[in-house]
Symmetry: C2
Subunit: 315 residues, 2 copies
């Protein structure tokens, strides 16, 4: 038997087959065509699922369950997406509607960031513990938490907004309406903002040569310039890593998961990211003097975490 | 049948009897005499428990279980106190040692702040939900969280340190070693620090008259002066309430409990504290546009939360 996972994005729908050893054995993707409306998006999710089964050469009879990771908040246990602006979902019973294409096969739905955390917990960097947190440093800062072996996202599915705790009261405006959220500093967008601030102060910085112009700054600009010895870039990276570690320490003090893993684009920096964050946390975490405390790791599953975690919602 | 609760403090040991309707029907207290050593403290806990039973006129046969709220971190499920400096506990099997005085009666041990949260969840302001958070604004900022009907304090019991998330990166030094923790602003000590800062800037403020001197400033100084129309005091209170609400919003965004209640000395301010915090949260919380979201309340059980929650660990 196999599990089928669907990673629903604003641009693409990825679908994949995961075997009982929790390995992703096949994946495919089609455009979401979000603008064509909710019904059509769900029909396309079914198409993507069928394409994955066909591509791998199995039928729905060999699928134990279907799982979906979707943007937006999901009502716990019901498969109802409360709200996802880009997809036009508003109290949409996504699980039920998708299930109509696959009668008899259970369909489970969770928020996409939570699903990625679930994947890391089941077969990624956070295997072997009932209590883990996965933080995703991407365009925003997202994540999910596993508590006592279960995904937890608040009584109504609106929690686990890890990026939206304030680390700088009255700091940078955040997309959520607050000021000084972790996301405004620790996301790629936050890193780019910090990079630009430092470039403007220092026209001699190598970051100008690497990026070409302020508009072309990306999440690698400061890291690359630092590796080539640029002092200003090192300041940017240090500041960025401090902000990442500050929020990570907050999560450790609050949730003290056995494993906290960091994923998202920037996690590809590996030890350049991990070591300074670990050092900071070991200086500041409440449990630092205890025999046991949270272990900080890099997430394992990369972009596949979405499909794998969705598939394993039924595992 | 009854439950027996022990609230172990650095100065006093309070013990009480809770009936099956979850009412505290009797309480008593004796000095802890912490300096006399671990064995003696535990013997005194047993004495306090016996005094409570005698005082209420029941025997150990009528006690279903004994619960203890203790300072320090407690290993989940084992009754072992990992560390509590003031009491000399270090990997102390408190549950087992106390149990030797009451053979056959189950003894459960949890951290005191967690126990208070448990009390509010069982019979206080957070009744009727499986997901709640209680924040205690006292000398420090403590608290506990109930997730899916269970107390959660991290895989090792070192979590739920709600006061030690940073809201001001590089801000005020905190006792925990970090800078800018919520506790440094939202605790009574934080409020006193802010009050003093403003008094020093404004020698005309009524706060000087009310307190007498900087040394005599307490948690009421600014609130009392504000009520008498002092502008500077209002600034202090507004700043304080913003800091309280900032951390509360962080907790809502992360945990989205159904109920979050605020206890501790300052919660006696009632609506003066609650209304502005509720307003702030409803402006900033991620779930503010959702049909359902965290409800912010004042905790109900006051100083008795410790005994009641301890007693109800077995309920």
């Amino acid at each position: 038997m196999y599990y089928l996972g669907i990673d629903l994005g604003g641009t693409n729908i990825a679908a994949g087959i995961v075997d009982e050893e929790m390995k992703l054995v096949y994946k495919t993707s089609i455009p979401t065509e979000a603008k064509t409306g909710v019904e059509n998006v769900i029909a396309r999710m079914a198409d993507a699922a069928k394409a994955a089964m066909e591509g791998f050469g199995i039928t729905i009879q060999e699928i134990k369950s279907i799982g979906v990771g979707t943007p937006g908040a999901v009502e716990p246990g019901t498969g109802v997406v409360i709200y996802a602006a880009n997809l036009g979902f508003k109290h949409t019973p996504l699980g039920k509607l998708l299930g109509e294409y696959f009668p008899g096969t259970p369909v489970r739905v969770e928020n996409d960031a939570n699903v990625a955390a679930w994947a890391e917990a089941k077969c990624g960097a956070a295997v072997g513990t009932a209590n883990s947190v996965t933080v995703t440093l991407g365009t925003g800062v997202g994540g999910g938490m596993i508590i006592n072996g279960q995904l937890y996202s608040g009584f109504n599915g609106m929690g686990a907004e890890l990026g939206h705790m304030v680390i700088h009261e009255n700091g940078r405006p955040c997309g959520c309406g607050r000021k000084g959220c972790w996301e405004a500093y620790a996301s790629v967008s936050g890193l780019i903002a910090t990079t630009k601030e430092h470039m403007e102060v220092n026209p001699e910085s190598l970051m100008w040569k690497i990026a070409g112009s302020l508009e072309k700054v990306n999440g690698l600009t400061s890291f690359d310039a630092m590796r080539k010895g640029d002092e200003e870039a090192k300041k940017v990276v240090d500041k960025y890593l401090d902000s990442v570690a500050c929020g990570v320490t907050d999560l450790c003090n609050m949730l003290q998961p056995e494993i906290l893993c960091i994923g998202g684009g920037i996690s590809k920096e590996g030890d350049t990211l991990l070591k300074p964050v670990q050092e900071y946390v070991m200086k500041e975490m409440f449990a630092r003097f205890n025999d046991t405390h949270t272990e900080i790791k890099i997430a394992k599953l990369g972009n596949d975490a979405g499909i794998i975690g969705a598939a394993l919602l039924g595992a």
